[in-house]
Point group: C2
Chain length 717, copies 2
């Protein structure tokens, strides 16, 4: 178990009464079914809600044929869910009324809270405090509501439910931080045949947040797959835990997150209260969660389309069969952009294809069967059969187009071959398809796209999600340190190095010396050339203060070095802070990495790996590891960086042991994560990987946490 | 004018008889209108072709009511265009028949030529030779044909023309190297209301190539915008010239090119005869052409949708008005990915918006008007009017969704406001739109997308194309060298440096010496520390042979250096190749670039700029300049590299003169391009930019062209 899973503060709310309330109160209800606060009453009726509905408004006796009460406390039965529509300033009184009536959960639709900044944010905090004091939980404020399709709960004013056809129930859960975009996606999905089980627009997430909903959906029998739209988050740990629960439950999950560019972040701030964290850290965190990030709203729906229903999961072993060589090339390119390679077909499969195909076609994957594929039903059948029978193929993408006359016959062939390929999946991109093809494939639940890019994006996201769901989660790692044991002093490089060496990270051989004679003797004992480093408590950036001398040799040089360093220390520090001169062996050149552990505002401890030198900093070539990673994962990430070839020996240089480097990185990530309440920052610059396989921390900085700034929910308890 | 424009070999074919033939012969015609060689006769009839049609087949007297001739020579009128459908082996005889009848142009539909490799390629070359000897031009072989919609020329067997509705004529030209994908795109465009003027599927491009078609479309009165689908090209210069002609004619042009990944390239090779060149060079070339690259077939169509009709071009000054804050954020992010910034609205505009909008909305661009925008028609009108009236706004993207009841009213507001904003353009992304909205906006030619990503991609491509069309093409640059003057020896670094210094590139002060005494005297004259470099004719990689000594000082060191270098030269060279020792001043550290001029197989001379050191090579951080660039363009490209911050002084380092570096790069690109017939390669490694503003070639290699390998069409004539 990772530390993120161990946190005790991450318990999730039980949302059963949100989705399956026996009774709903609509507070501030309008008698006009077209008005915002009248719509839910109309929609609940239209959707056939299985519970009771109680309009609340002192101005009316009845609304749309239902008795209307002056207050929630006047309702003659317990209320499971309150929908609060009164204007912002009246919301606290409405909450009090709910609390008095013992309502466990309310959706606050009213706006004018955190999203307006300043005073609105204060009002919002007050509201949450008031609800919590009364043991009531809140969705919103500024929410578009919640939907549970099967029992007809449409607790929303979205005009979506005014469409000619009410969205039919399905098995996908959707949680959206944006109301409008959530409703648009719901409707888009409806148009494309994807039905939802549950939907929540969380609004300002003042109390209940997206992770609460995701965790509920992970456990929900009515939900097969989960879509998330996210604008910003404050507690990444809870998000990861909720996503991990979906992963454990085998539910494919996709996230659309906005707020990457500066312009985007500006708009995000004015739209919600949450500040978008670093996008690279978010991606790194998601990589471990089993969820996949999708680039746009349509891609979210397309992912859900491929991952709902009782189909087997879409798995790797990717093959492409195309009627157009151009489309085959395009598709192979695009999958490669996602890091997905096409499967190598077996020689048998290639031979079967080669025998059937015209001479100028390609029997290799991507299989270009040429336009002949759709002039010859028997050829098409052979291609489908040969590829789907290949043991290395898990997913087949068929690329076609047009076929006004024969399209239905070819579509039928796809359906039949897919039916017989147990456990395998077929997705189709069919450009300018006749309606008969769309209808047939839709009915038989073969995912079909009229757009090559959408098809490839959806298949790629599904395969990546599947890879991530299958990836073994790292096994529990024992604590590096007893939580009760004092860390000891970390005030200098030397003390930080001793601390790290004790945990198993190699540091250069060296001795801390106070006098010239001790220094010369220590240098002599180390043999050959040495490094002198002045140790001053709390002083980083030693080079800037003349406190590093490299490559001194012999008693005279070392002695002179000590003398000059004593002068430099005198200039850089008050006398009480001087801790002596560290004499260390001079190590040979190697591959220099920079490893830094910092605390991300959303995800807590994050380990950053970069290449030594300023150029990589300039090019932003750094890799993030979120939370505690094991050596296996660190090894994989060191293989994924753009400069990974340096480990193999670049341009005739020596090879460096990537696995040894990964072990050092994993140790640091483990330390930073396990000790997040006591250590706020670690930097090893450089961490030198030597040609002989040693990995040595040449310099080290360990910053103890100041207890006041430790956020809750990230550290070990 | 750039050199690319000066080439004399790039004349384009006149395709008037391809698109507007008075008479068409169908050779190898079938009497069955469903068979491939029967379809064109049926399609020409169906489309109301305005010329005459002559089936040719010795087996029939009449086909579909038309007299059928035994040969082309038996046709009683001149034939403008022949469509050759006979099987591959019979094609040469059909070509001979056409030549005998004086046919100027044929489309060869038959397959089995270059696309099959080996023997097929030889047959194809023979075919072209035969046609050219008879003054006939060919489209294909392996072509899907050509279409000219207005005069009903459907010289194709594509089942596209079997659709219930024949594609209506339009004003977009489409040229596709792939037949199937071309037909699919034609049909997709038809479904989305984009009509074509002309269409050609070029097939194997054995004779007439895509540039011929593009150049014709550039001059074509019936064509407003051009779409190109490209799999590989052999003559990039002709492509750029054709695209330049479209740019001059003000015709927006988009290119979809496939074949980037290794898997993709493999498929491309088996599909067409052309090898895909380096993708980065292609992008660099396109940047100068006025055309824009689009990522997928749908994006090509979307670009054409935005750029056809009598609308003004879509120009910069980009604004976004959204009913969803989330969608606004997403859109800003995505535009930023394209390097497109949103316009800063004037304070007046922001004030007007702030007054009208709810407190929690954002009056800044992207304007988040919240869902209130679509609950309040007057607010929506104010937003549209304020943004479109802003003098800094050229293009407005409106983001909306749903509105089953009021959608049409809001759409009508967009139509009216767009109509009054002369010269400005509006594009709409409306998710899950009611049919009434789609119909209304379609009728009024306001581009509308049901997908956010498609909308942003299309607007971004249009704005980038517009930027490129407006970019001034570089002015003519005088020849650096008289074409008749001998280049002189370029056999050593020293001779190459003398050559470059003569053209104005700075090199270190230095002297070529034969003896120890000369060397010591030269070093003394240069003062202080020097560099010694052994000069051996034709020997690159001097360091590997011990022929570089850096930082020698004083007569003893310099003399000893000379001695050891003489030994090293003796080991590395036959005595006849030794040219002496170059003594040079030692220059201070600076910003080291690598500038290399090589010859791209498709685009000819290409100048590559990288940062010195191996890391940049590892990270593929190089920038390409295609053809001859001036200092202005080189300056812009040096500002676009990821390491551009180094010029400004990175992390406290000195600043380096980017303009001076650009001038040196431009000089080299000018030399390589103007002298492409005499110089095949130049490498300056490093080109050192000094803090004092000097830019010095520390090392130089100039490789003369071996006349045999100079391809035609790229060099100056």
């Amino acid at each position: 178990m990772t530390v993120i899973e161990q946190t005790e503060t991450a318990a999730f709310a039980d949302l059963k009464k949100l989705f399956e309330p026996r009774s709903v109160a609509v507070i501030g209800a309008s008698a006009d079914g077209k008005k915002i606060s009248g719509r839910p009453i109309r929609f609940l009726e239209r959707a056939g809600f299985t519970g009771s509905v109680h309009p609340v408004n002192p101005k009316y006796e009845t609304i749309m044929g239902l008795p209307c009460r002056p207050s929630v406390t006047a309702i003659p039965e317990p209320v499971d869910l309150a929908l609060i529509f009164v204007p912002g300033p009246a919301v606290p009184a409405a909450v009090d009324d709910c609390v008095a009536a013992g309502v466990p959960l309310a959706i606050v639709f009213s706006a004018g809270f955190g999203e307006t900044g300043g005073a609105g944010r204060a009002h919002q905090e007050e509201l949450v405090a008031r609800a919590r004091a009364g043991r009531m939980r809140l969705i919103g404020p500024n929410s578009l509501g919640a939907v549970s399709a099967r029992n007809g709960l449409v607790a929303s004013f979205a005009t979506l439910f005014d469409r000619d056809q009410l969205p039919p129930p399905g098995r996908v859960g959707l949680v959206s931080q944006s109301g409008a975009l959530g409703a648009y996606m719901y409707a888009l999905a409806q148009d494309q045949g994807v039905g939802f089980s549950r939907f929540v627009a969380t609004g300002n997430t003042a109390d209940l947040d997206l992770p609460d909903v995701i965790a509920y959906l992970a456990d929900d029998d009515e939900t097969d797959a989960i879509g998330v739209y996210l604008e910003g988050l404050t507690d990444g740990g809870r998000l990861l835990e909720a996503l991990g629960r979906a992963q454990t439950a085998g539910k494919p999950t996709a996230i659309l997150k906005v707020g990457r560019s500066e312009a985007g972040q500006r708009a995000a701030e004015s739209h919600t209260g949450a500040l978008a964290g670093s996008d690279a850290v978010f991606d790194a965190a998601l990589r471990r969660s089993g969820a996949v990030r999708v680039p746009d709203p349509q891609a979210l729906i397309d992912f859900l389309l491929l991952n709902t229903g009782d189909q087997p999961p879409m798995t790797g072993g990717l093959a492409v069969l195309s009627a157009s060589g151009g489309a085959a090339v395009w598709t192979a390119d695009r999958f490669a952009d996602f890091g997905l390679e096409l499967a190598q077909l077996t020689p048998d499969t290639e031979a079967r294809l080669a025998e059937a195909l015209p001479a100028f076609a390609s029997p290799r994957n991507p299989v270009d069967a040429t336009a002949q594929m759709l002039n010859d039903a028997s050829l098409f059948d052979t291609c489908l059969d040969a590829i789907l029978a290949d043991p290395g193929v898990g997913t087949l993408v068929v690329l076609s187009g047009l076929q006004e006359r024969d399209g239905e016959r070819y579509a039928q062939q796809i359906v039949e071959r897919a039916r017989h390929a147990a456990g395998k999946r077929v997705a189709v991109a069919w450009l300018a398809a006749p309606d008969s093809v769309t209808t047939l494939l839709g009915r038989e639940r073969i995912p079909m796209f009229g757009d090559l890019a959408r098809c490839v994006n959806a298949v790629a996201a599904s395969l990546i999600a599947d890879q991530r769901r299958r990836a073994a989660r790292p096994a529990a790692q024992a604590p590096l340190l007893d939580a009760n044991k004092e860390l000891g002093s970390l005030e200098t490089e030397h003390s930080a190095k001793q601390f790290l060496a004790h945990l198993g990270l190699e540091v250069p051989h060296g001795t801390l010396c106070d006098t010239r004679d001790e220094t010369v003797a220590a240098a002599s004992a180390l043999g050959n050339r040495v490094v002198l480093k002045g140790q001053v408590a709390g002083l980083a950036h030693k080079s800037d203060h003349g406190l590093v001398r490299v490559g001194l040799e012999g008693a005279d040089e070392v002695g002179a070095g000590f003398d000059s360093m004593r002068v430099a220390m005198g200039a850089a520090a008050t006398p009480g802070n001087v801790r002596g001169v560290l004499v260390e062996e001079l190590l040979p050149e190697g591959l220099d990495l920079v490893v830094g552990c910092v605390r991300d505002p959303a995800f807590g401890p994050v380990t950053m790996i970069g290449l030594g030198g300023t150029l990589v900093e300039l090019l932003h070539e750094v890799e993030f590891l979120v939370g505690e990673v094991d050596a296996e994962e660190a090894y994989a990430r060191l293989g994924a960086v753009r400069w990974a070839a340096l480990f193999d020996g670049f341009r005739g240089g020596p090879a460096y042991d990537r696995r040894a480097a990964a072990e050092a990185v994993a140790l640091l990530s483990r330390l930073a994560t396990q000790q997040a309440n006591r250590i706020s920052e670690i930097e090893i610059n450089p961490l030198r990987v030597l040609a002989d396989g040693r990995v040595v921390a040449l310099d080290a900085l360990v910053v103890p946490a100041s207890p006041a700034v430790v956020p809750s929910g990230h550290e070990e308890t």
